[in-house]
Structures are given as structure tokens and as C-alpha cells.
Amino acid sequence: MTTAAVKPASMAQALQRAMRDAMAEDPTVHVMGEDVGTLGGVFRVTDGLAKEFGEDRCTDTPLAEAGILGTAVGMAMYGLRPVVEMQFDAFAYPAFEQLISHVARMRNRTRGGMPMPITVRVPYGGGIGGVEHHSDSSEAYYMATPGLHVVTPSTVDDAYGLLRAAIASDDPVVFLEPKRLYWSKATWSPDAPSAVEPIGRAVVRRPGRSATLITYGPSVPVCMEAAEAAASEGWDLEVVDLRSLVPFDDETVCASVRRTGRAVVVHEATGFGGPGGEIAARVTERCFHHLEAPVLRVAGFDIPYPPPMLERHHLPGVDRVLDAVARLQWEAGS
């Protein structure tokens, strides 16, 4: 294997590359959505695919999300492997019935006769100064829907590896792309892309002994930064990047919490009814006697996503993470 020149790549480029490689390897992979063809997507994530593979393989659809996902269901019924783009998080809502009532259930409905190897790409989350409806974190809806996998990368490498795995999966995957990390870079060899990651494995991004930060997607860099800052205050924080919300990697998460005895869940989605509740509850169920303090949550407020000029007050930042860490009852502990 020749080692190609290592150069910086953005998460958007890694995602594009994942689709390109998947399309090249497997003629049943079809990309479809609004503006994914000629334009290459509003975030340029599908840039060049229509040119390389033709409009039948990378298709600008009519503007109708239920129609996009609904026709993808039919295409999957016939053996294709559709990769559907929802232009923004909030614009996936019109496709909700198709997602819940069909995509998530078709395999089960047909006793395995009709699997749904569909990847639904959803750019999600805030922090990009988007106006209303352009910054939702909608993962709680998907997590509460049995039959779906829910995956979200936080690094350029994972963006490639997880999207390849999602497309290769015989089950539907809601693939949540953290918008504000699209332009994050890594030195990356586009000629030797990173490994395809199995779906369902969390990863320890930073080992630590004092407490565990459990997080995913756009909040991973926030937690890494918080862990650095905490180090100077004497806390050695472990950061677990979930990568997959469904299936959930109980093993990795609980191993970490049992080791540290304390945990904070961090995400951008609203706190109430958000992913953190499930995560905190299952960690507590499994690690109760290892916990020195309740598992705390740092999340978006329980409000509609704010306008751009106020979003910084809503988004969980380093300070809020550190505040939560400080509230982990250190005085009482071991």
C-alpha cells in the first residue's frame, strides 16, 4: 500500500469521500435529496457525486421530505441502498411518519423479509448562527424509535468510518452530522481513508480518573476543552464519545463510570426528555453502588432553539460543564 500525502481534510470532505467510496464499491448505493446533485448540497457534502456517478445515482429530488424518504423505502424494497439527505434537522420532521411507521418497522413487520438499508443523513445542532429551524438537536425523537440506529461522529476520521458503516448496514441508520463540525479539520490521507467503524461502539477520547464526561457529536470538542481546563483545577476527566446512541454501548460507558465513580452527560439537545435522561438513568441503574454523586446533565435549556444572537447562552459550553463537574459532591467522596 502506498502512503499518500497526508493533508488536512474537513469533516464535510470526509463524509463526501465516504459516500463516494461506497458508491464506487456498490452500485446499489444511491444518494438523494434536495440540492444534493448539481449543487452538491447546501453544505457541499455531496459535492461532485452527481458528476461522477450520474444523476440517477445522486438525485435532486422534488422538495418533499416525506416523498424523499417514502420513495427511498420503495427503492430499498427493490434492493437499493439509498442514502437520503435531509437538508436541515427541522426539515426532517415532514418525513417523520415514513421514518417511524415504515423505515423503522419494515424489517420487523416482514420478519426480516424486507430490510431497510437506508441511511438518513441529518445535519443537526446549532452554533452556526442559523435562523429558526436550522439548529435543532432532534436525536431524542430518533432514540425513542425502536428499529433505527442513531449515529453521530465527532471527528473527521469517524465521519468517514461511521458513514461507511451506516451505508453498509442492513438496518436504517439516522446519521446525525454536527453542522458546526463540518469545517473542523484533521490531517488525513484521503487516499487511505480511516477504518470503517462498527456501529455501536463508544470510544474513550481522553482517559481520566476523576469523573467521566459522557457526550457525543458537537459536544465532544466542548468536553475535551473542559477536560483540559479541569486538569488545571486538579480534576482528571475522562471523555467518552458515544458515537452511536442506538445501539448504546453500555459496556464502555459503564466501565468508565465504574472506574471514575462520577459522571456528567453533556449534549446540546434540550435537557427535559432529551438523550441525557436515558443515559443518566441507565448508567445509574448499572453503576449505582459505584457512584459518589448522581449523574448530572449539562444540556440545552428546555426551550425552542434561540435566535442566532442568543444561541451562545443556550449552548452548553466549557463553563457549564465545569460547573457540573464541581457539583459532583467531591467533599463527600472517596
Partner: protein, 378 residues
């Protein structure tokens, strides 16, 4: 003064908006002003006697099937049954117009079409018996699962037809939906995608007059449901849905058109739901017997029987033979439905994902332990 009356409308200077071009001519897309009919009209002379006899046998069988399935609800053998009594011409013609390689996308009311297409009635009724959500392998039979959320099966049919065309396969999809279902957004999106993609798909709307209790007049103000076609740039066809020969012919033309790359067609078959919405419904709350009686006179079996009899193609022996065949089917169905299905509760966890998640493995273990304990307790 309306736009059309304006005197100057004909005298444009030659500077219309530059990107605007006269597009398809709408005229050929518009449906006939009246439902197309064959039986009892001159068109009947052109109909193939063998086809008419096949349709007849299937109609008689279909009616018997409806009666039997309804009886099974009373015996607690079906959780619910949405009868297609009165609509058998549509169900039968839909199944018989398709080639074996084509796909059928039925709604919850269309088990009969699946049965006529060759599916074992016990498999077709699985959903309604309640032992599983689908009782057959859709790919083996090229019949999509019976669809309950209204109109959601229509984009599936479009996607499948589109995929088949991309692959170069000679496959057409026939999607069935009710008059009420045409009000759903998915109807609109599906038809639009179909037309833009020129997908080989045919939409058959069975306008049976009601969506549960809601009559058509509260559902739409359109001249006819078939008129919706022009808004997508596809032909709309209006047909007497109780005239099996007419439905078969119109469907056949639309399927042929789709097959030769001509794109989708929307067909409205005007028919009537003789029974209540399902066995659980009380139709007397929203409609009168007079209306039902008028439709009984326009019964699909009667219409075809009269035609066949007049033309000397059917006599009492023939009728009896058809009835006997139907009776045999019904007896077999009754007997097999009276056996309790063998169920394995562990199936609850088997097909959620290709590979069981650790969470589901834990839960399966829990249920297995419970079942074992239950077994011991007995």
C-alpha cells in the same frame, strides 16, 4: 371580468417571461366527463369472453371470501376485517391486470387483491388475525405489506418502480388507495415524484364514497378525483369501479403505458363500500339504506353476470360451478383459520434489527425467564 374574458388577452406583444414555455398540453391528461364503462355498453362487444369468465369466477370467489372473512370476525378468529364487498371488481381486476413480475401495493382493505394474485388467504389475513404484521414474504409474491397508515404506501410504489426502471427491469407497480387517502400529503408527494421521474407506476383510487363515516363531498371539491392527475402532468382516468371489464381495461392500458416508458397514470374507480368500514363500525350512524340499495342494484357480480348471460357465455351450470369453487375456498379458509396459530413470543426480538443489540438480548433473556417461570407455574 375574469382573466379569460379579458379582451386584450389575445393581443400580447411578443415578450412573455423568458423562461416560460408552453409545457405539456393538459387536454389529454383530463379524464372523461363520465366514468368509463364496458358492461352493458357497445364496448362490451370487444371484450374477450375468456377474460370475462375469469373475472366472473374471481368476483364470485372474492365475494365469498369477503363474507367468510366477516364471519370469522364474529367468531373471534380475526381481530378486525375491512370488507371489500361491493368493491370486488376493483380488487379482482387489479390483481388480474398485473403481470407476475409486477408489484402490488395494497392498503388494509385490499387483502382480496392479494388473494386473487395468488397469495394464500390465511397469509393475507395474518395482519387482521393479529399473529403478526405481515403474513407473507413480500419479495416472493411481489406484494408489499398491507399498508395501514393512509397513502404512505404510494411513495413506496413510486420508489420501487423507479428502482426497477433504473435497473432496466420490465416491472410496473400498482398502488391502491382509497378516496380518503387522496387527501393526505403523501398522495401528493408520491404522484409528483412519479410524474417527475416518469416512474412506471399506476395509482388506483377506489372511490367507495366514504372514509369511514366521511362522505366524498367533505373530502374534496374536485370535479373528480381523477382530475387531480393534471396537476402532476399525468393522465387521469375515471372508470366505473363496479364494472370489472372496464376497470381491467383501463388498468391494462395504464400498465402498458407505464411499461413502455410513458410514465404514471391516476385512475379513479367509482365504487361503493357495501359493508360498514370494518366489522367494528356502525354504518347506520352516517348513511341510509336507500343509498346502499341503489348500489346493490349496481353490484359488480350482477353487472357481469347479466352481460355473460345475455351473451350466452354463462348458464346455471356455470354459475353453480363458480359458486361451488368459491365455497370450497371458503370452507378451506374457515377450517384453517379455526386452528390457533402457533406463536413464539421470542419473535418479538428477532427481527427488530439484523443483529440483536445488547439491550434486546437482555430483554429477550428477561422474557425467556418469565416464560419459563410461567411454564413451571402451569
Amino acid at each position: 371580468m375574469t382573466v379569460q374574458e379579458l379582451p386584450g388577452a389575445a393581443a400580447y406583444r411578443p415578450t412573455p417571461p423568458p423562461a416560460w414555455k408552453p409545457r405539456t398540453d393538459p387536454a389529454p391528461l383530463l379524464p372523461d366527463p363520465e366514468p368509463y364503462r364496458v358492461l352493458g355498453t357497445d364496448a362490451a362487444a370487444g371484450a374477450d369472453p375468456e377474460l370475462l369468465l375469469r373475472l366472473y369466477a374471481a368476483l364470485v370467489r372474492g365475494r365469498r371470501y369477503n363474507v367468510q372473512a366477516t364471519a370469522l370476525t364474529k367468531q373471534g378468529r380475526l381481530a378486525v376485517y375491512p370488507s371489500s364487498t361491493g368493491q370486488e371488481a376493483c380488487e379482482v381486476a387489479a390483481a388480474l391486470a398485473l403481470e407476475d413480475r409486477d408489484w402490488l401495493f395494497p392498503s388494509y382493505r385490499d387483502t382480496l387483491a392479494a388473494v386473487v394474485r395468488g397469495l394464500d388467504p390465511v397469509q393475507a389475513l395474518t395482519l387482521l388475525r393479529g399473529d403478526w404484521h405481515t403474513g407473507y414474504d413480500p419479495r416472493e409474491h411481489r406484494i408489499a405489506p398491507l399498508c395501514t397508515p393512509l397513502a404512505t404506501q404510494l411513495p413506496h410504489a413510486v420508489g420501487l418502480a423507479h428502482a426497477a426502471r433504473l435497473k432496466g427491469d420490465d416491472v410496473v407497480a400498482l398502488a391502491m388507495v382509497g378516496d380518503g387517502g387522496t387527501s393526505e400529503g403523501d398522495f401528493h408527494e408520491a404522484l409528483n415524484f412519479a410524474a417527475v421521474w416518469r416512474a412506471p407506476v399506476v395509482f388506483l383510487v377506489q372511490n367507495n364514497g366514504f372514509a369511514i363515516s366521511v362522505p366524498l363531498a367533505k373530502q374534496t371539491a374536485a370535479p373528480s378525483l381523477a382530475h387531480k392527475a393534471v396537476g402532476y402532468g399525468m393522465p387521469g382516468r375515471l372508470v366505473d369501479g363496479n364494472d370489472a371489464a372496464a376497470v381491467h381495461e383501463v388498468l391494462g392500458e395504464a400498465l402498458a403505458r407505464a411499461r413502455r416508458g410513458g410514465g404514471p397514470t391516476l385512475i379513479e374507480a367509482v365504487t361503493y363500500r357495501i359493508d360498514a368500514h370494518t366489522n367494528a363500525d356502525d354504518a347506520t350512524r352516517y348513511r341510509g339504506e336507500v343509498e346502499v340499495e341503489a348500489w346493490r342494484a349496481h353490484d359488480p357480480i350482477r353487472l357481469l353476470e347479466r352481460e355473460l348471460t345475455e351473451r350466452g357465455l354463462l348458464d346455471d351450470d356455470g354459475k353453480r360451478a363458480a359458486a361451488d369453487a368459491a365455497e370450497t375456498m371458503a370452507a378451506d379458509l374457515r377450517e384453517r383459520m379455526n386452528a390457533d396459530p402457533v406463536l413464539d413470543p421470542m419473535d418479538l426480538f428477532t427481527h427488530v434489527y439484523a443483529e440483536q443489540t445488547s439491550q434486546l438480548r437482555e430483554q429477550a433473556a428477561q422474557l425467556r425467564a418469565e416464560l419459563a417461570a410461567e411454564g413451571e407455574a402451569r
